[in-house]
Amino acid sequence: MFDLLLYISLGIFSLGLVFKLFTWFSRKISFGAETIATSARLIAAVKGIAGILFSFKLLTLIKVFILDVIFQIRTLKEDPLRWLMHILIYWGFMLLLFMHALEAIISENIFNDYYSTLNPYLFLRDLFGAMVVAGLLIAVCRRFIFKVPRLKTNAMDYYAIIILAVIMASGILLEGMKIASPTVFSDMQEEYAALDEDSDIQALENFWVKEYGLASATVKEPFDQQEIEWGQELNVEYCASCHASNKWAFTGYAMARMLRPVAVGLDHAGAVNFLWYLHFLACFFGLAYLPFSKMFHIIATPVSLLVNSVMSKETSRQENVITRQVMELDACTHCGTCSRYCSAMMASEARGNPYILPSEKMVALKAMAGGKILSQAQRGAIVEGVYLCTNCDRCTVVCPSGINLKELWLSVREDLVQKQGSEPMMLSPFSLVRGLNRNLLSDEAYAKPLRETQKALAGEFDEITRPDRTVALQEEADKKWLLHSDDTDFSCCFGCQICTTVCPVVKNYENPAESLGLLPHQIMYCLGSGLTEAASGARMLWVCLTCYQCQEHCPQQVKVTDLLYELKNKAVQKLEN
């Protein structure tokens, strides 16, 4: 039964691992990935890896492996508490895995004197377990008590904490129960000591109850001093060569002492067996589910750290960059460090769009790469999330997993924008970096989403301003939409047109009215006549430099530039609703 379950979970784990590695080469999230076949990406990866392994870059890999994978220096630099948490869990769990879980394969072959009930192994097992528990406690505090700003917790984060907690809790309970169990004592006594005399067994039991945490239905305090001394001698003679004091197994011993009042009953009810199954099933489940869970980062994150230390924008093949970017989605541990320093964090709060935060973008991109069908609204929010980014690169600098987020955003952004067609954020200074990288795109690919966005934001402008149409003027100007209306808004405009005269955008065109839809003074007239709809559709708004020449020169102190800003805000809001 045990072996069967082990092989089933190992099988699922292996298949999962192969599947996940395959997705690194088959999934497409970056711009330009559609045209490159999986086979080409595989071949490029093999060539790339071979090239690195037979060059001096191998030394970089070794250095990064020691500093960033083993000692996790990147995390230490950013957040010592989180580093302590992670290093306790990582080291504790790895050491438990190698020394305890794989004892038949590793410990027994390396250490001739290995015996799980002898020191230092007895003590070390509990020490490593205690490390994991301490790390888990910090993790729980960080996520649920300290309220780290913008640290979001999703189902995968819960799973990771829960599976580790179940493995650890069942392990410690199992050890405690075994220490306290009269049945286990009696079995071991028969197997190893094989005492014939009932009085000897009684003495040994006395000693184990007093010193080793054993529970007993018959032996009670106060202990008979002679019995204890006799028991101790028997212990030295029959037990001590293979079994150190249970006090060394400090977590299990403490658990046994806590369980003492109920241990005999639990023992009868088969608690040892139950906990044994629970512990192993939790471990097997964790193993089988690992490739599909957040815990897969124990494989993907070191890969990300290593790969990013030797790849560069200039020299790496496009195939490998595309593959790396899919792999990086698995390397993200959702630790939230990026979102803690994200420059656009407040936009996420103000717009109620979590996808503006890098850590949440990664979750969304992972779902999209996995082929999850998203609603139109969700897709829109994700496109806005990847575009509403100042490209300050802080997320890339702080990422403990070494993910090259800045390049990931750039390539994913272009892919999404092209598919989405339009995105209002494109008509803002957030487009600076896209403009600087214009040469990476064809002229048409570059221009199309900008054109579509302008069209979407123009609304009914063309219809309203059709040359053969007469527009009815409103009796009163509409001011309800203004963010802050005061005595110097458009109603003070007396039509001098200075705003248009000083506008550098107007000066740029031979036929500005045609190119811009409406000129600044015409926009002010429209507002005065209640034609807000027409005003908010003019192309002029989106090429306004916000240089404030118009506002500065207005003899009536009309806040022309600020009004153009408000009209833009209004147009965006209208499109979003």
Binding site: M346, R351, D393, M425, M426, F430, L432, D562
Partner: protein, 293 residues
């Protein structure tokens, strides 16, 4: 010693690192100390087109953080400066949006009461350090160097909000340039926009504005255009380089030098410490205008 909370913004640390490096160098020499705060976020400027709440909340969070530091803010970027000043002006009024911003900041344990002073790097040099102090530090004054000073829209206008200098006839940067021994030339398009705000939105318009300004400064006999804003600098450096490589005549090149680079060289600071070679266009020949120590 004067101490300021340094607000770098988002562009400088990635795209105009030499501005950060050179400004720190000259300020250190002039006895101004800077305190960094990694919690600062975007100034809100790029959000003004699309979302007033995102703009205001972003800007005011920075102001609240600076108030917590109990220091004046020293801002290097014109657009960050304009955005933060605008936010301060908006917050001085009362309204639903303002109340919402206060509420959202309170969730993070932040409070904004409006007392923080927002100062541009150049204002700190001009008003707080003083022209005379700077003059004493100039060990290698420039000779025969013509500079076209570029103010950048968002420090000058709207002047009621920014209160940086006279919006029609400013002189602050010209004086700061003159003190280095260089000559500030008159050029008609000095106060016009550099074109950066629409880069990526309408590149033809953006580049036309840049080209017009550069032609104008060239005609005025300038050797360099002097900037003090990352957006303007990107436009006159990175974008100009692209324009020249695509269709330009290299003889028309008019490289941009950041003010702290210009000042630093005059103060005898080594060009490497001012990131001279980090500019996209070569400005190494500016040292030939320096007098011997």
């Amino acid at each position: 010693m004067n101490q300021y909370a340094l607000f770098l913004g988002c562009n400088i640390p990635v795209r105009v690192k030499q501005y950060d490096v050179s400004a720190r160098m000259v300020l250190k020499e002039l006895g101004v100390s800077l305190v960094d705060n990694r919690q600062f976020n975007c100034c809100g400027y790029p959000m003004r087109n699309t979302d007033p709440k995102a703009f205001l909340l972003s800007a005011v969070r920075n102001l609240a953080l600076a108030e917590k530091m109990e220091m004046d803010m020293l801002v290097l970027c014109q657009c960050c400066f304009g955005s933060l000043k605008k936010a301060q002006a908006v917050m001085a009024e009362k309204g639903d949006l303002q109340a919402e911003v206060h509420g959202l900041l309170a969730e993070e344990g932040l409070e904004y009461d409006g007392n923080v002073k927002i100062k541009h790097f150049l204002s700190v040099l001009y008003h707080d350090v003083g022209i005379d102090t700077i003059k004493q530090q100039i060990s290698r004054p420039y000779k025969n160097l013509n500079i076209a000073t570029h103010y950048g829209c968002h420090v000058l206008r709207p002047s009621r909000v920014t209160q940086f200098d006279d919006p029609v006839n400013p002189s602050l940067i010209d004086e700061l340039v003159t003190v280095t021994g260089a000559k500030s030339v008159d050029w008609p398009l000095q106060l016009e926009c550099c074109g950066a705000p629409v880069l990526g939105i309408d590149d033809d318009l953006s580049e036309n504005l840049t080209k017009k300004k550069l032609t104008d400064a060239n005609a005025a006999g300038a050797h360099y255009v002097c900037t003090a804003c990352p957006y303007c600098h990107i436009q006159f450096d990175t974008v100009q380089k692209r324009i020249l490589s695509e269709n330009g005549n290299q003889d028309d090149a008019l490289p941009a030098i950041l003010y702290p680079q210009l000042l630093g060289l005059g103060m005898g600071i080594d060009g490497d410490l001012l990131g001279i070679s980090d500019n996209e266009m070569d400005i190494s020949r500016v040292t030939s205008f320096l007098s011997e120590e």
